[in-house]
């Protein structure tokens, strides 16, 4: 029970921080809206007829997933700041599992990222994205799991850095290529071999394909949009999630204790 309490209080701290930082809350809502409204609409106007399916929906789902994933992943880097300003001392000296610290942080940052869903749903409504209640109720918990997946990826990256400045500089190199290799904005079928390989080792690729698979399931354009079945994507993401968490936590704790 102590472990769960510890996870909740670590997560609660992140949520408190978000609601006390109005600028962060505001920018978290605006950025995804701007991505879809500007980029999505522009791509839709140019590509919809060529690809043969509703391209705005395609981009909308991609941006939703990308936001949940990357926002949680980058939020995990705050653990490094905690280490720099000595706050992490109180984590490390507490009688809780190191995994509880990491899970608490992922849960907190996932909730923080999830607040962006409000802005995303609002822009979806404005852009007339077809989303019935059943699909919405299915997608909402899935998007929360995507946040967790992004958090696990963030742990793996964060564990290898000792200061926030370095990670802020390097993090975009791990995130931005994934936007393009995962098919957030463009279809990933019929790629050159090297790009196919690169896309298949991109964690975000499976998250984007998974959510599109759920959304387009049973629709005629399913086979054109989706690459792997939702089950395959789910299995790959589960394996990656545990690998990221286990390896990331191990490196993080080792670098903390074996200075």
């Amino acid at each position: 029970m102590r472990t769960f309490n510890a996870i909740f209080i670590i997560a609660y701290r992140d949520v408190l921080k978000l609601f006390r930082d109005k600028r962060r809350l505001f920018s978290g809502l605006i950025f995804p809206i701007a991505s879809i409204a500007i980029l999505g609409s522009s791509l839709d106007a140019n590509l919809s007829q060529t690809v043969g399916f509703n391209f705005l929906v395609f981009v909308y789902l991609g941006v939703m997933v990308q936001n949940m994933f990357s926002s949680t992943a980058s939020g995990i880097a705050w653990l490094i700041e905690d280490r720099q300003n000595d706050f992490s001392q109180s984590f490390f000296v507490a009688p809780i599992s190191r995994y509880a610290i990491i899970f608490g942080k992922i849960l907190g940052e996932s909730i923080v990222s999830y607040t962006q869903i409000l802005g995303l749903l609002a822009i979806g409504y404005i852009l007339n994205i077809p989303l019935d209640l059943n699909k919405l109720l299915l997608l909402l918990p899935i998007l929360f799991l995507i946040c967790f997946f992004g958090g696990a990826f963030g742990v793996l990256i964060m564990a290898n850095f000792m200061d926030k400045r370095s990670i802020d500089q390097v993090f975009p190199f791990f995130i931005f290529p994934q936007f393009f290799l995962s098919g957030v904005f463009t279809p990933m079928k019929n790629l050159p071999d090297y790009l196919t390989v690169l896309s298949r080792i991109t964690p975000l690729f499976y998250a984007v394909d998974f959510v599109r698979g759920i959304y387009f399931y049973g629709k005629p354009e399913y086979s054109e949009v989706v690459i792997y079945s939702p089950l395959t994507n789910l299995i790959v993401m589960t394996v990656m999630f545990f690998a990221f968490i286990i390896i990331g936590t191990y490196i993080f704790v080792k670098s903390e204790k074996e200075r």
Partner: protein, 315 residues
């Protein structure tokens, strides 16, 4: 009393350092003891403390706390300890009470709740008791952004004490505290110690804070340079002497020679004698003394002498 902390040949070399920060340190601390570790900056105090509180792995050596190995049973050790860190480990985005709550939940002292009023009464009473002790009652629910350095220090102390730890590690706890709060803290800690169930492990620069210790260990450049009770250190390491003079210093000199005492000077005389032997000396002397000065060393003088000697040896 059984040994609650056992350290054997502890060595720590940081990856980027050329020399050992802690270099073969061994000592024991009994349960319920008040143990002080003194040393100048860079002596290895905080490194030793970090290994004892399981946040840092040693390069070699053995550390057992409450019977548990510091590397293999770290979580068992963490259940028994409280730490007041040298550098503040607070979140300025939270209120003082939220910081205390965060720590208390991590230690399993209370379950998680986002509302203070829903938390157990024992927690609320304990928070109020410690806040009153640290004169922080009216600031408990204010954000830390409004806190001064001294107020943050007080909060750190409350956090370290909140869950009644069996072993309390204090790393320079009173830096930045006003004299009244320092006194209140020490009165409280000595009261806790009197109950006999809390072991206090202190590192400090304030020598007078170590005067109440059961044992004092002085380290310098990662090595133990002295160990004992404050009285033993004073007795063994500092010259005890008196300065005396009389109207007839030549006669006094003869008397000192007859008494086979070691002394210096032509009058006044610096006579090397233990405080306990003074009565016997004065009974023997027939000279009418015009000056008596008793040199009674403080622990600070002991410390300065030891550190001074160690520096001299290294030159």
């Amino acid at each position: 009393m059984k040994d609650i902390i056992v350290v054997d040949n502890l060595i720590k070399k940081y990856k980027t350092a050329e020399t050992n920060a802690v270099d073969g340190v061994s000592f024991k601390v009994e349960e319920g003891e008040f143990f002080s570790m003194l040393g100048p900056n860079g002596a290895g105090k905080t490194t030793t403390l970090s290994i004892l509180n399981t946040t840092l792995n040693p390069t070699s050596g053995k550390v057992r706390i409450s019977g548990f190995d510091a590397i293999n049973n770290a979580s068992k050790i963490r259940e028994k300890i409280g730490v007041i860190f040298q550098s503040p480990s607070l979140d300025v985005n939270m209120t003082a009470e939220e910081n205390i709550r965060f720590h208390s939940v991590l230690y399993g002292y209370i379950p998680f709740s986002y509302r203070y009023k829903s938390l157990p009464k024992k927690y609320q009473l304990r928070v109020e008791e410690l806040a009153s002790l640290m004169d922080l009652t009216s600031e408990l629910h204010k954000p830390l952004k409004e806190f001064s350095g001294g107020m943050k220090r007080k909060l750190e102390i409350i956090i370290g004490l909140i869950h009644n730890p069996k072993i309390l590690f204090l790393d320079e706890p009173t830096i930045g505290l006003d004299p009244l709060t320092r006194k209140n803290l020490w009165d409280y800690l000595l009261q806790v110690k009197k109950k006999g169930d809390t072991t206090i492990f202190l590192t400090t620069h304030y020598i007078e804070e170590a005067e109440n210790s059961d044992h004092v260990m002085i380290i310098n450049k990662g090595k133990v340079v002295s160990f004992g009770t404050p009285e033993e250190l004073k007795e063994d390491l500092i010259e005890e002497f008196i300065v005396i003079s009389s109207m007839n210093n030549e006669f006094l000199r003869q008397e000192l020679i007859s008494a086979k005492l070691k002394f210096e000077g032509d009058g006044p005389f610096k006579v090397y004698i233990k405080e306990k032997d003074l009565q016997t000396l004065f009974q023997k002397l027939k000279s009418k003394l015009s000056l008596i000065q008793v040199h009674n060393p403080t622990l600070e003088q002991v410390y300065l002498k030891i550190i001074g000697d160690a520096k001299h040896e290294n030159l």
